[in-house]
């Protein structure tokens, strides 16, 4: 059933590829511009910024930027005021090319090449004329972005607060030797970590101390954090395992608590950009795909589905925060993501129990396969989210 669709797609794609090739970076400096005037070649040099045309029809525009200078350059499409960034492409090395694709409504713009990434750049006026393919007039992106940033920041701060509180509960129970209750709190406390895992992991000094798995260690590295304690609480499958003494328990518990507080102190000060939020959503699904769906994260407790749900929670919240922007830029993507999140959630809900979720080692291969399929189904459109929130 799928083959004919693929073939059709390939046939359709071919002329497009051919069209792109005609405008390959190699012949920058030629007359430039595509048949429909939507591809503009840009040549950036030490003291020049040459565009193949100063005018294009409204809709999707592609700027093929080639750097003929000797320093790294950037290219900007700015609003009429010369301040508002409509689109940008950074880090174009000498003799290299990059593309900027924007969806621009009719109006006056300013283009700028910035060789050496300094100053205001080499600027020119650029005009986008009325066309049938013009994007619909959108609500004020800035306002939508502002709301999304505020909401996401508040969400991460709240999760970090709860992480501190629940980690405190956990380490107290563990220190006191109340193992049954510590085991019950373990996945619940980690839920708050996993919901903001991409933020928490961004602190490269803390993550290895807090969330390293045994296989992640390098020679000589001391193993601390959640998974060290996990192994001590669920030693049944560990070979030749010597339980930690009360004193050792206290040391590992205090270390985890201290690092959690340091993390919280940093997280409370963070702010985000809209593409970071979108990347965070994508990143959390990657965490699911590489660690949770395979049961590698919680090797001893097998509480992987708690983490799975928490990653999905975090990814969904991040998506929902930017959803109004996506609905303006790419309504089909917004619909696809809403549907796929719901489908994945339905599978997770089927594994809920009175105390949480089915343990990973009790899942059948069919369950795991269905979850993996749903993760792939969601991750594929989610990988286009960042591009859809940018102008």
């Amino acid at each position: 059933m799928r083959t004919p669709v693929l073939v059709a797609a390939l046939l359709l794609a071919t002329p497009l590829v051919a069209a792109c090739t005609e405008n390959a970076p190699g012949d920058a400096g030629g007359s430039g511009g595509s048949v429909d005037g939507r591809t503009i070649t840009v040549t950036s040099t030490a003291d020049g910024c040459e565009l193949s045309t100063a005018q294009a029809p409204a809709g999707h525009l592609t700027f093929d930027v080639t750097n003929d200078g000797s320093q790294v350059t950037e290219f900007y499409l700015l609003g009429e005021d010369g301040l508002r960034i409509v689109g940008e492409v950074e880090n174009i090395g000498p003799e290299l090319s990059r593309q900027l694709v924007v969806n621009a409504p009719a109006g006056s713009y300013v283009t700028a090449c910035k060789p050496g990434m300094k100053g205001d750049g080499i600027r020119s006026d650029f005009t986008v004329t009325e066309s049938a393919a013009a994007p619909s007039v959108s609500a004020d992106d800035q306002q939508l972005v502002g709301t999304a940033l505020d909401n996401y920041r508040a969400y991460v701060q709240d999760q970090s607060d709860q992480l501190v509180a629940r980690t405190r509960d956990f380490v107290q129970l563990y220190r006191a030797g109340d193992d049954d209750r510590a085991r019950a709190v373990y996945p619940e406390a980690r839920t708050h970590w996993e919901r903001i895992e991409t933020v928490a992991e961004s602190f490269g000094d803390l993550d290895p101390k807090m969330d390293a798995r045994e296989a992640d260690l390098e020679p000589g590295q001391k193993w601390t954090g959640w998974h060290r304690i996990e192994k001590d609480l669920w030693p049944a499958e560990a070979e030749d395992y010597t339980p930690l003494t009360t004193k050792q328990r206290a040391a590992y518990a205090d270390d985890l608590m201290r690092n959690t507080e340091i993390l919280d102190g940093r997280v409370q000060k963070l702010s985000y950009t809209v593409d970071q939020i979108a990347n965070g959503s994508r990143g959390l699904l990657e965490e699911v795909a590489t660690g949770k769906v395979t049961g590698e994260e919680e090797a001893w407790s097998h509480t992987d589905l708690w983490d799975f749900q928490a990653n999905v929670d975090g990814a969904r919240v991040a998506f929902e925060g930017v959803q109004p922007i996506v609905e303006q830029h790419d309504p089909d993507l917004a619909t696809a993501l809403t549907t796929r999140f719901a489908e994945l959630q339905k599978l997770l809900d089927a594994q809920r129990t009175a105390t949480g979720f089915t343990f990973y080692d009790d899942l059948t291969q069919d369950h795991v396969q269905a979850l993996a399929n749903a993760v792939n189904a969601l991750a594929e459109p989610l990988s286009r989210l960042t591009a859809a929130v940018l102008p």
Binding site: N67, Q71, V72, E74, E90, N91, G93, P94, E95, L96, R98, M117, A215, D216, L217, E218, P219, R282, E286, A289, T290, V293, T294, E296, Q365, V368, Q369, A372, N373, N376, A379, E380, L382, S383, T386, A387
Partner: protein
Amino acid sequence: MADAVPTARARDAFAFRGAHQAGIVTPAQDRLHFAAFDVITGSRAQLIALLEAWTAAADRMTRGLPAGEVGPTEGASSLPPDDTGEAIGLPVSGLTITFGFGPSLFRDDRGRDRFGLADRQPTALRTLPHFPGDLLDPERSYGDLCVQACADDPQVAVHAIRNLARIGFGTVAVRWSQLGFGRTSTTSTSQSTPRNLFGFKDGTANVKAEETDAVAEHVWVGEDDDPQAGWLAGGSYLVTRRINMTIEVWDRQPLGDQEAFIGRTKDSGAPLSGGDELSEPDFTMPGSDGPVIPRDSHVRVVHPDFNHGARMLRRGYNFVDGTDALGGLNAGLFFIAFVRDPDTHFIPIQNRMARSDAMMEYLKVTGSALFAAPPGAAAGEYVGQALFS
């Protein structure tokens, strides 16, 4: 092989005998079959007899002749043929066969001398340490002996391993083996750089056969490198790592991110600091957020400039071993490197990569092994003879 075409065979053949083993600086062929063996006898004489038989068979097969002296169809109808026959009519396809000795050949896991070779074990020939990101499958790791068969035709490479394994029954047993279908490295300036399964050109900065000084400095073990392992002079250490790529997750990364992880453009393979594929990366060139070649990019992390000048001769192959239990590709790079000393040319670089290479997020190492590849066998010698005499 009565229907052999000598001219075709002659054109594609690489000499098996010489100062160094073939299959190291030989221009990398397109296909690989690599096998690791456990020695199942305690008899030194039997082990030597096997090396003699393997040497004779390898010498024949790399000249396009059958593994045995009789041939696949020429023998008595009452006997099984002494060559399995699937290479009948195929050109020699540049076949090279390269042998190596693992640390466990010298001492067993309790440190006992197995074949009277313990006092000749090279100091650097030890089981590789655990590296972060290693999720090793013991059934795809280690081994007492190894054979690397490379050819431009996969059936020729498989034929070589199959016949050598057959010759070895009773003395050795196959521990694991790996097929590779596309070379990922260039070992000669006459070759173009191929792509790995991430879609990037790989091995651009590899040590090439034509760089004779670099080969002498970084690949061949020197006369005085290791007083107790003089037999290894002119040989090399052979590292294998079965590196699974998380293909599906990688494919969802934006192009700009993929290029930032690697530090090169996907299109031409030029470093992000500009130029073309062969331009030297400029790690100091500023970008909009730190250097334009990110600090955690693969090209920077493993570059000789940040590794005390150490270079490797890489000879890896792409592999796809079907799909995993969840329908993902069981695929990646079967990494092979030949180095003069793993303690300076592999272990520190691997640790640095595991610690700080952005690409590690998409890699899982499932197999690992280290072997000492002895120098080449001269006429009348068997491979590794100096170790036993």
